[in-house]
């Protein structure tokens, strides 16, 4: 291994792997009378897998994350495609406009969404103004749909950017070649543009899924009781229940799912022709 590699791995170990491991290792301990007993056990995992409400929350959350990814794949692709079709000067502006929210505080964005979705919120005003509803709808907030909407909006840049980058990378001459060989606009899109930009979509879906499945702030602030997700379950073990070992064990399960998704996305998002 070269010297630079050693340094890099050293930093990674020092600042990421060691803190992470020293936390995750709690998953193999247990709690008696509010204090941690440092003796290895698999009891936490056995409890999680046998507990119906943990399992339901787990699968409900994964399903919600999958739905958010699917919605965002469509929304994100449309947005990225729209930006890509603008003249070059516009494109850069739009991409930056899209990236700016990423620099904003996460909690502020979620409060903003809470404002949008509330009874006096923007969405209700629009629905009222359009005459779609007669009086403000309270069903937009404090349920799982509110979580879906909030996460979709907040995570959209993570979908748009990788798709936009893969669209940007398609050489103009390749599109010209498709037209030159007789393909109309629809065929060029279906046979050339879509397959060439789909790897970006897969990466974006991966980001969205992993971030949505682990999130606890959005469900906490806009989810209400229906929006109790796995992230909140984990959080409650550290806060309310004060059961770090169970919280760590729950985290380990989620991490395994996340790693599996990342691995799959790497395979799918890096097709044979790219290697």
């Amino acid at each position: 291994m070269r010297a630079e590699d050693c340094v890099l791995w050293g930093f990674a170990a020092l600042f990421i792997l060691i803190p992470l491991a020293s936390f995750l290792v709690y998953g193999f301990f247990f709690v008696v009378d509010n204090s941690v007993v440092y003796r290895p056990t698999l009891a936490n995992f056995a409890e999680i897998l046998s507990n119906d409400s943990y399992r339901t929350t787990f699968f409900k959350t994964l399903r919600m994350a999958l739905e958010v990814s699917a919605i965002n794949l469509v929304l994100g692709y449309a947005t990225a495609y729209f930006i890509w079709l603008r003249p070059p000067a516009w494109r850069n502006f739009l991409v930056i406009a899209l990236a700016v929210p990423l620099l904003m505080s996460y909690i502020i964005k979620i409060y903003a969404m809470r404002g949008v979705l509330g009874t006096n919120g923007l969405l209700n005003s629009v629905l009222l103004a359009l005459g779609i509803v007669d009086e403000p709808v309270s069903a937009l907030l404090f349920n799982l749909t509110a979580v879906r909407i909030t996460l979709s909006v907040v995570l959209l840049p993570f979908m748009v950017l990788p798709i936009y980058i893969s669209l940007e990378r398609i050489p103009n001459s390749v599109l010209n070649a498709a037209a030159d060989l007789g393909a109309g606009e629809l065929q060029t899109f279906a046979r050339v543009i879509l397959p060439l930009s789909l790897p970006g979509g897969i990466v974006g879906a991966m980001f969205t899924f992993v971030l949505a499945s682990g999130d606890f702030l959005a469900p906490e602030l806009v989810g209400g009781i229906e929006g109790f997700t796995y992230g909140r379950l984990i959080f409650s073990q550290f806060g309310l229940a004060f059961n770090w070992p169970l919280g760590a064990a729950l985290s380990i399960l989620l991490m395994i799912v996340a790693l599996a998704v990342i691995y799959m996305a790497r395979r799918l998002g890096n097709p044979r022709w790219q290697r």
């Binding site: 050489p171 010209n176 037209a179 060989l181 007789g182 109309g184 046979r191 097709p271 044979r272 022709w273």
Partner: protein
């Protein structure tokens, strides 16, 4: 080679396959193509030759439809195609960067034109097999472009452009990215494919020798205008302008020239370095004339050549098969270059010595000077 002498005339000479009239392209206020006329004959290999920035790519893009012309008309086979969408134009392009579809195998790339037309499987496979056979890629059909060498990508791009059996193929500097040896090989290959298929090739290059070896006719471009069109021989032996003369290697330019006599197809001109005879009639509208002489037309000695100049040797460089002598005229300080076959027995002249250099009236040309 006979091809070159006749200009490779196709049977239907009076009806060009591609007819360009007054075609101009402007970018803002900049004229990338000044309104120009060009005829491409059916079955010929026509090369657009010119230095970088002369508008070759823009002209080709306008023909292919990637660039909307500011004015003028394009007719293909008697039909006006100026407004026709790219995907309906009845010819295909080989791009400089090949522009292969990276997510498709060689086979899928080549078959693309047939697939978008919904060609049946059996017919498609036969056509692709035969196209891959022509370009010698039968074995590599399952590879992706990223797994191909430059030459193989080039062949794939050619097969892809040929698959729909177009009557004309446009090629924009297709060999520019290849190394010298492969380039020569691909030149021969392209030329033979063109000859065997009978497809009209409209080829773009900035390389004079490439244009000369491959083309039936060459169209020399300069600053968005056509400088001269003709067979390689025409351009080599009868350049019309200083620009074409230097582009084709007649680098000794003697000017100003004044015509003093025209008799029996021989024109006599007076120049600052002497009076010379030039074969052929005087060019028309001859203002600002110059005499262009190829370096290899010069010979030492007092033999037969009718034209002679006394020149001082500046330097002699031996470059293997040839020896290049840099010379200078004593009074005018005009510079000359002489290229001759190296002679093992000869003693190279010392710098500063004076030589009598001669050239044949048939080996020089009267050309117009710079017009703009």
């Amino acid at each position: 080679m006979a091809n070159h002498e006749t200009g490779g005339l196709a049977p239907n000479q009076d009806l060009p396959l591609l007819r360009i009239r007054g075609l101009g392209v402007r970018f803002g206020t900049f004229n990338a193509i000044n309104p120009l006329d060009l005829d491409v004959r059916d079955g010929e290999f026509l090369t657009i030759l010119g230095p970088s920035g002369s508008g070759k790519t823009t002209l080709l893009r306008a023909i292919a439809g990637f660039q909307t012309p500011s004015e003028g008309g394009i007719e293909f086979d008697g039909r006006d195609i100026a407004e026709m969408p790219i995907n309906r134009r009845p010819f295909n392009t080989v791009f400089q960067d090949y522009a292969l579809f990276p997510h498709m195998t060689v086979r899928e790339n080549v078959s693309f034109g047939l697939r978008v037309r919904g060609t049946g499987r059996k017919r498609l496979n036969d056509r692709v097999d035969s196209a891959l056979g022509i370009v010698g890629l039968e074995e590599l059909g399952a590879r992706y472009p990223s797994q191909l060498s430059g030459g193989q990508q080039q062949r794939t791009a050619l097969a892809r452009a040929m698959i729909c059996e177009p009557r004309m193929i446009l090629l924009d500097e297709p060999l520019a990215a290849l190394d010298a040896a492969l380039r020569r090989q691909m030149q021969n290959f392209l030329k033979s494919v063109q000859r065997q298929s009978g497809i009209t090739f409209l080829f773009v290059t900035h390389d004079q020798s490439e244009a000369t070896t491959m083309s039936d006719r060459i169209c020399v471009m300069r600053s968005g205008s056509i400088e001269q069109i003709g067979t390689p021989r025409d351009l080599y032996y009868r350049p019309k302008s200083k620009f074409v003369a230097s582009f084709f290697g007649a680098s000794n330019i003697i000017e100003p020239c004044e015509i003093i006599d025209v008799r029996n197809d021989v024109t006599s001109v007076r120049t600052p370095v002497g009076t010379f005879a030039v074969a052929g009639p005087a060019p028309e509208g001859g203002s600002g004339l110059a005499l262009a002489v190829r370096p290899e037309a010069f010979g030492i000695g007092n033999g037969k050549p009718a034209n002679q100049i006394e020149l001082t040797v500046v330097s002699v460089s031996f470059i293997g098969s040839e020896t290049i002598t840099e010379l200078k005229h004593r009074n005018t300080s005009l510079e000359f270059k002489m290229k001759a076959r190296s002679d093992p027995a000869a003693i190279p002249p010392a710098p500063g010595s004076v030589l009598t250099v001669g050239f044949d009236p048939a080996e020089c040309a009267l050309v117009s000077g710079d017009t703009g």
